[in-house]
Amino acid sequence: MYEFDWSSIPGALPFLWDGMKISLVITLQAVVIGIVWGTILAMMRLSSIKTLSWFAAGYVNMFRAIPLVMVLLWFFLIVPRFVETLLDFPPGSDLRLSSAMMGFALFEAAYYSEIIRAGIQSVPKGQIAAASALGMNYAQAMRLVVLPQAFRNMVPLLLTQAIILFQDTSLVYVSALADFFGASYKVGDRDGRLVEMLLFAGAVYFVICFSASQLVKRLQKKYHPA
């Protein structure tokens, strides 16, 4: 049997907390940008203008076809070069965090847009007709009638996706960024205590994600008593 030795954890807590902050920051901004950009994509997809709906469909299908690890690698190694030259950034800035954030946000937007599209389609068509009968234009009908209802229906799904996203942030290890998982791994590697640190990381993720998903369930019961 393996001899466990948990002694590296207490001293590493500040470093692990720094890692947790990175995981949280990436999650939070990817959720916000993902929902905003995802809503725009969903409306484009449902729009009657062919170019817009094709663009949105292409975007969503492309991002959903590629593993997140590959997307992050692209954003870490290849996209920054392109952006730097395009926007005249000083090359060599530490783009690990920003490229990870951008990769996540654009990737998650594809998933959010599918949830939101389903949400919009769940609102009966008659409501748009009713809104236009009241003299609203399409944008007003969307903003004032359809989207508020759609979002209310979607809140649990959006939050569940956010929990998945939080778990997926562990994949930023590809860019050597020390998120919570990366930090745990590095401490374990440094002290020759990988086994202990991996179990510790697993336990922490479980506690956070399990609590969050229980909260989501409560919310769901509150808004949609079955």
Partner: protein, 299 residues
């Protein structure tokens, strides 16, 4: 101007570098360092004792210390009052790309200078010479490569050791199962947990892994060196001006005896994280490298 930028970006992406104005005389790297007042250094996270984190997450090590000496010389040469140092951790899988795409200006860690890599990046004067050997448990009865026939052997993905052992396996029909771990830490874990009987890697790094093991006394480094390899710092290809400056700085450190002092600090004295002494005496190859600094690959 913006249109030019877009063209340039497209040119980069399409690989048509010829569109860019030729600037052979002026070093782009030095110009950038001068303009931004900052330099980005690539370092490793757990290449003990070359470049790694200590328990306060500070980068330390033999190669890193040499690199900081080079930075001092760059600062003096460019007559900069202040030079910001940005540190960027790299892995064996992304280090070449990060040099190529200009994210990292210079990387001193544990990178072997070989002909294939020279096609994509530039190498400075050799900073270290290693031999590729084996680490095994003291009581496992592994003395040399011949003892590995039919057994599980681990090495780190993307290293020269990986190629050598795969080739040896094929040439000599040894029926070894070669495991390629993601990094040295994972490779050592594979060895430590008994999945493999030996870990093939650069000897200096093997001593480094022993330094962080739970029971350093259990392990030994053994076997006939399968190759001699020269570590160099990586920098961008086609920037002779920058390379000249870095090489001059490294040469000065080696011929003046500074490099040997740094060597003694990391290889002959107790080092973090556990205060273990690697006790690696200066090899003949290293003595030669310090005496007549050069940037030749061994391969």
């Amino acid at each position: 101007m913006k249109r030019f930028a877009i063209t340039a970006a497209l040119a980069t992406v399409l690989g048509a570098s010829a569109v860019l104005p030729a600037q052979a005389q002026e070093s782009l790297t030095l110009k950038k360092i001068k303009d931004t007042g900052a330099i980005t250094l690539g370092h490793r996270e757990s290449s003990i004792p070359f470049s790694y984190y200590d328990d306060k997450q500070q980068v330390i090590g033999y190669s890193h210390e040499l690199m900081l000496k080079v930075v001092d010389d760059i600062k003096a040469n460019l007559k900069l009052a202040k030079l910001d140092i940005k540190l960027m951790p790299v892995t064996s899988a992304n280090r070449i790309t990060l040099i190529q795409n200009g994210t990292v200006d210079i990387e001193c860690g544990s990178t072997t200078n070989n002909l294939e890599r020279q096609k994509q990046v530039g190498f400075t004067t050799t900073i270290f010479v290693i031999g590729t050997k084996l680490m095994a448990k003291k009581d496992a009865g592994i003395k040399d490569f011949a003892d590995l026939a039919g057994k599980n052997v681990v090495t780190t993905a993307g290293t020269t050791s990986e190629r050598l052992i795969r080739k040896m396996n094929e040439d000599k029909q040894m029926k070894m199962n070669v495991i390629s771990a993601k990094d040295h830490g994972e490779a050592f874990l594979t060895l430590e947990t008994g999945r493999a009987v030996a870990f093939m890697m650069d000897d200096a790094l093997l001593y480094g892994e022993i330094a962080k093991a739970k029971k350093p006394g259990d392990w030994l480094v053994t076997g006939t060196a399968q190759s001699k390899e020269a570590y160099g710092c990586m920098l961008k290809k086609d920037d002779p001006e920058f390379k000249k400056l870095v090489d001059a700085s490294l040469t000065k450190a080696m011929t003046s005896g500074d490099a040997e002092k740094i060597y003694a600090k990391w290889f002959m004295n107790p080092i973090p994280p556990k205060g273990l002494n690697l006790n690696m005496v200066l090899s003949d190859e290293m003595k030669a490298a310090y005496k007549a600094p050069n940037d030749k690959a061994f391969e």
